[in-house]
């Protein structure tokens, strides 16, 4: 898992023609494969002019989808953040059997199809699911309702905060926290006064990334939502509906909002990478807690 990419500049011995050719190739492939779709979103969104673009957001159904998306993220993201930090603390500050297994398990939702992320909750809470009958009797709606949307979103996005904070806390080392303990700090004092200030920036990035993914989640939410217009359609689902009704300009207009969110996330990442390389202290080797028997420490 890596939170930040390392962009360094190593010396180059390649002959000039190769350098030019490869660079052009790189730009072309990124341009075609990655940039072009992004450009297409905005171009299509404004293809019928700004009037139609803004008209998209006056539609009450679309407005409801935006509010619903925000409401789902408002619950899913904080919960995942707490989980991410708790998991990072447990996994980077202590050794226990199964630690590495737990770290890899946390990544599980990333490699599972989002459709499955929605389906597992349908198996439990759906009409034909385990608790289906029980919930029906009490008139509680989980699937095809807000709670289901939140659950599915949580499932798919909970690794994101952890994935950022775990390597961060790993690389920062725990010497400062140990120092705080020797000076008499207890429990939450160590966490709030020492750990949080150090992981602030990375944590912020993790939260924003988690939020962008939560708001943009499609597959899992699609399964649990039932596509009930005005009630259980989040922005991505509304985009799908508009697209299927051939209201392309509106669909892309809504998509452009989510794209903007993605772009902001990317910009924040670049900004934070610049910051952390400057903020980390010059001396590097923090004492690693897990000792490799092959390289004993003094």
């Amino acid at each position: 898992m890596s939170a930040f990419s390392i962009t360094s500049h190593t010396p180059n011995h390649d002959p000039k023609p190769i350098v030019y050719a490869l660079t052009v190739l790189a730009f072309l492939s990124v341009g075609f494969l990655l940039l072009l779709p992004l450009v297409a979103v905005f171009a299509e969104a404004f293809s019928k002019g700004p009037a139609v673009y803004f008209e998209t957001f006056r539609d009450p159904v679309t407005q409801n989808s935006i509010f619903l998306t925000l409401r789902v993220a408002a619950l899913a993201v904080p919960l995942n953040t707490i989980f991410g930090v708790a998991a990072a603390w447990a996994v980077t500050r202590f050794t226990f059997p199964g630690r590495r297994f737990l770290i890899s398990l946390i990544e599980l939702p990333l490699w599972v199809s989002p459709v499955i992320g929605g389906m597992v909750y349908t198996m439990i809470f759906g009409l034909q699911g385990w608790l289906g009958g029980w919930l029906e009797e009490r008139n509680i709606q989980v699937i095809f309702a807000y709670p289901g949307l939140v659950l599915a979103t949580i499932f798919v996005t909970f690794p994101f905060v952890a994935r950022v904070v775990i390597p961060l806390m790993e690389s920062l080392g725990q010497a400062e926290e140990e120092a705080a303990v020797t000076l008499g700090a207890r429990g939450w004092q160590v966490f709030w006064r020492i750990t949080v200030p150090r992981i602030k920036m990375g944590l912020l990035y993790g939260i924003i990334l988690c939020n962008a993914r939560a708001m943009g989640e499609f597959g899992a939410v699609s399964v649990v939502s039932g596509h009930i217009r005005n009630q259980t359609c989040t922005m991505p689902l509304q985009i799908e509906i508009l697209h299927s009704e051939y209201q392309f300009a509106h669909a892309f207009a809504l998509a452009s909002v989510l794209s903007l969110l993605g772009i902001i996330t990317l910009m924040l990442k670049v900004y934070l990478e610049g910051q952390t390389t400057r903020r980390l202290p010059a001396e590097v080797p923090e004492r690693r807690r897990q000792r490799d028997p092959a390289t004993p420490n003094p």
Binding site: A175, E176, E178, A179, A180, V181, T182, L183, G184, A185, R186, Q189, R193, I194, P197, R198, R279, P281, A282, E283, P285, E286, R287, Q290, R291, P293, P296, N297, P298
Partner: protein
């Protein structure tokens, strides 16, 4: 405070870092734990500090005849200075030093005035007056070293433990700080243990030296004793002494 280490053993994932180590430190002594990389000296220091714990039957630690083997670092009143200082980079020098005082429960916490007074006193003691508002990243290695010391002293420890205190500094600064540490120790009289792999440092500074290798004590005694009568081939090799 006197320190007694009784038969300490510690294993890391099947690697035996320490194997039945025992030693005694008298009140007011300045002791050096000397040895090559991997000898177990830092592990021993951390166990004495309370930052590691021995295995279930891995021995005991006594401070002033009190069994503190499972006590926390703070409960032992052990001040610890880390090899890379572990200063809180997001806090000023003053806030670093005052940290141990500010995290105390309201009942035992000194007043803000009192805290400021102590910060000034400690900075004077380590001969770095006026640096309260600076940040650790703005200081030199030698300065950070002394701030880390001041921070540890703020909570009035009974013993002082230093992990390779001069390891990260260059030669000139190291020499100056060595002298300074000896004078400091003579002034305060605190029982102090420091870890080093540099034998000149150990012999120049310490009242007593304990040489470790592969988790076992090879020899312990005053610098004179060890140099005149090395106990085994490892010690003479390590010290570069010719065999007579």
């Amino acid at each position: 405070m006197s320190i007694r280490v009784e038969n300490i053993s510690k294993v890391f994932e099947r690697f035996p870092a320490l194997n039945g180590v025992s030693l005694e430190v008298k009140e007011g002594d300045l002791l050096a734990l000397l040895g090559p990389s991997g000898s177990g000296k830092t592990t021993l220091l951390r166990i004495i500090a309370g930052l590691e714990f021995p295995g279930r039957d891995g021995g005991k630690i006594f401070l002033d005849s009190r069994d503190v083997t499972w006590d926390s670092a703070y409960a032992r009143r052990a001040g610890f200075v880390f090899q890379h200082y572990a200063l809180f980079n997001h806090m000023t020098v003053g806030e670093n030093i005052a940290f141990g005082l500010r995290v105390r429960p309201k009942k035992t916490r000194p007043s803000e005035q009192e805290i400021q007074r102590m910060i000034h006193e400690l900075l004077a003691m380590v001969q770095l007056p006026g640096l309260e508002k600076r940040f650790p990243t703005q200081l030199s290695g030698g300065q950070r070293q002394r701030i880390a010391l001041a921070r540890a002293l703020a909570v009035e420890p009974k013993i002082l433990l230093l992990d390779e205190p001069f390891g990260a500094l260059d030669a000139k600064v190291r020499k100056d700080l060595r002298k300074w540490l000896r004078e400091f120790h003579d002034r305060t009289g605190l029982t102090t243990i420091f870890v080093t792999h540099d034998q000149d440092e150990a012999f120049e500074l310490a009242d007593h030296v304990v040489i470790l290798h592969e988790g076992k004590i090879q020899q312990s005694g005053t610098p004179k004793e060890i140099q005149s009568r090395p106990a085994n081939p490892f010690v003479s090799d390590f010290l570069g002494l010719s065999k007579n």
